[in-house]
Amino acid sequence: MSAPAIGTTKTAHSDVAPKKKRGPGALATAYLVIYNVVMTAGWLVIAVGLVRAYLVRGSYHGLYFSIEKPLKFFQTGALLEILHCAVGIVPSSVVLTGFQVLSRVFLTWAVTHSVREVQSEDSVLLFVSAWTITEIIRYSFYTFSLLNHLPYLIKWARYTFFLVLYPMGVTGELLTIYAALPYVQKTGLYSVTLPNKYNFSFDYYTFLILTMVSYIPLFPQLYFHMMRQRKKVLAHVEEYKTE
């Protein structure tokens, strides 16, 4: 459920009706602007990398390898966002943001990186593209919001593109995990069996299946939450426009 980042809709942006927010100080704002600009740039690099690789090779196949390193770098870098919430410079829930970021990082490292055989799957391209477009919009949204100059187009894109990108990303993620299953089972990746001196066992194969199952209750909740946010945010702007 990582495709577009959700829980961060109530963050330091003036797009919903004005409420009393502490907000970050001047130094924190400057840092956040730099952070969000860097992230926007990073995901643009990934986007450009994907397009160039496609043009060079002439096929959609195996494009993951051309953007593997920046993908890992910038997606892992998003862990900082948990810190931002914990420290309070971004008024989002630590738990929600943590869940979002960790599920992305999990897919990047514990599935795609760890199971070499899935790296050439088309499903990887599916979720990577969804993530890339989402993140470019999301980070530029934050950048402009922090500078108090949010173009309506960016706001509209953020609350509209998810309608397609979210299911697209989820599909890519699920197909990738599914593709990894046979290899995990065969090699016993990240699994611990009995007997051992700590009397513990862990079956990564079963864990992956449970992860896939968890999408069933979680994805609709997140998707409809975003739809409700969309109504609130875009309707509010409509009111101003009709004045």
Partner: protein, 324 residues
């Protein structure tokens, strides 16, 4: 100070709708009595789930508060909030603790469908497994008996959803731990002989480890029980008074000199002992999670002691002497 009869109107705290109008209320009526009267006109809201306040966003009034001592005129206006379905603390505790007791025994006796069929109804060959079962069962039996005979509860009830949350935690962890400890492939703490050709340092200390663990466990069980008795004796039956706990003649209570919530300290010690005894990672996890939760509770209790009592002993820490 009023003579004669009062009237009471109760409004919904959120919608401000008039829910109930009571005339002919005695000035010395308590909030508890008013709740009973409200319950008569709205049978679905029994007293335990009513929150009656002077202000829609204010604190709940206590059942003991008397009408004429409240800042209201001859017609009192109260606001009502539904606390949701309630369940008594005793019921919750009995269910929470009964589950682990029974579940662990099911794993211990290797009831069918848990392990491979050839192990059904067999018992472990390791004596530490029998010891662990006795300790675990003793612990939860003690908790059940304390719930019935020792503890005095400040609140009668808690929200119903808590029982699902709490039972998932206790039952889930009990099953997880019991699965591994009673597993046919369980590995007890073993002593290796240093001259053995397959010796891999560091050695695990086997019988000695289990013996020390048992002593720690029993010591902390007695300690925990002593604290529960001491806390019970602080509060006379039926009352809800709050006093600072102090060490008594029982040496196990002398820890009150250093700690505000020694019941949690001893509880942590018990589970630490059980972890050492079974050398089982899930038990270590359970101990760690319990430690975090109890630390949060201890800090909260410590803070409210400090707020309520000017003369609270300064040397005390919430849960771990000098440290936490």
């Amino acid at each position: 100070f009023k003579h004669g009869i009062c009237t009471v109107e109760i409004l919904d705290a959120k919608t401000k709708d008039k829910l109930c109008f009571l005339d002919k209320v005695e000035p010395n009526a308590t909030i508890g009595e008013i709740k009973s009267m409200f319950h008569k006109s709205h049978p679905q809201w029994y007293a335990a789930r009513q929150s009656i306040r002077l202000d829609p966003k204010g604190k709940s009034l206590k059942d003991e508060d008397v009408l004429q001592h409240l800042p209201v005129g001859t017609t009192a206006t109260f606001y009502f909030r539904d606390l949701g379905a309630q369940i008594s603390w005793v019921t919750v505790f009995l269910t929470e603790y009964g589950g682990p007791l029974l579940l662990y025994l099911m794993f211990y006796f290797r009831v069918p469908f848990i392990y491979a069929p050839k192990y059904d109804f067999t018992t472990s060959k390791h004596w530490v497994v029998h010891l662990a079962c006795m300790c675990h069962s003793f612990h939860y039996l003690k908790r059940l008996l304390e719930t019935l005979f020792v503890h005095r509860f400040s609140h009668g009830t808690m929200p119903l959803r808590n029982i699902f949350k709490n039972c998932t935690y206790y039952w889930g962890f009990a099953a997880w731990m019991a699965y591994y400890i009673n597993h046919p492939l369980y590995t007890p703490p073993i002593r290796y002989y240093i001259n053995h050709p397959l010796y891999t340092p560091p050695p695990i200390y086997g019988e000695q480890q289990v013996r020390i663990a048992l002593i720690i466990f029993l010591f902390c069980q007695v300690g925990n029980f002593s604290i529960h008795i001491a806390l019970r004796n602080l509060r006379p039956p039926g009352s809800k008074t709050r006093k600072i706990p102090y060490p008594t003649k029982n040496p196990f209570t002398w820890i009150f000199l250093l700690v505000s919530c020694p019941n949690y300290t001893y509880e942590l010690g018990s589970w630490f002992g059980f972890t050492l005894m079974t050398q089982c990672l899930p038990v270590a996890f359970f101990t760690a999670v319990g430690f975090i939760q109890m630390t949060v509770w201890a800090k909260g209790k410590h803070r409210s002691y400090l707020k309520e009592f000017r003369d609270y002993p300064p040397l005390r820490s919430p849960i771990l002497p000098f440290v936490l």
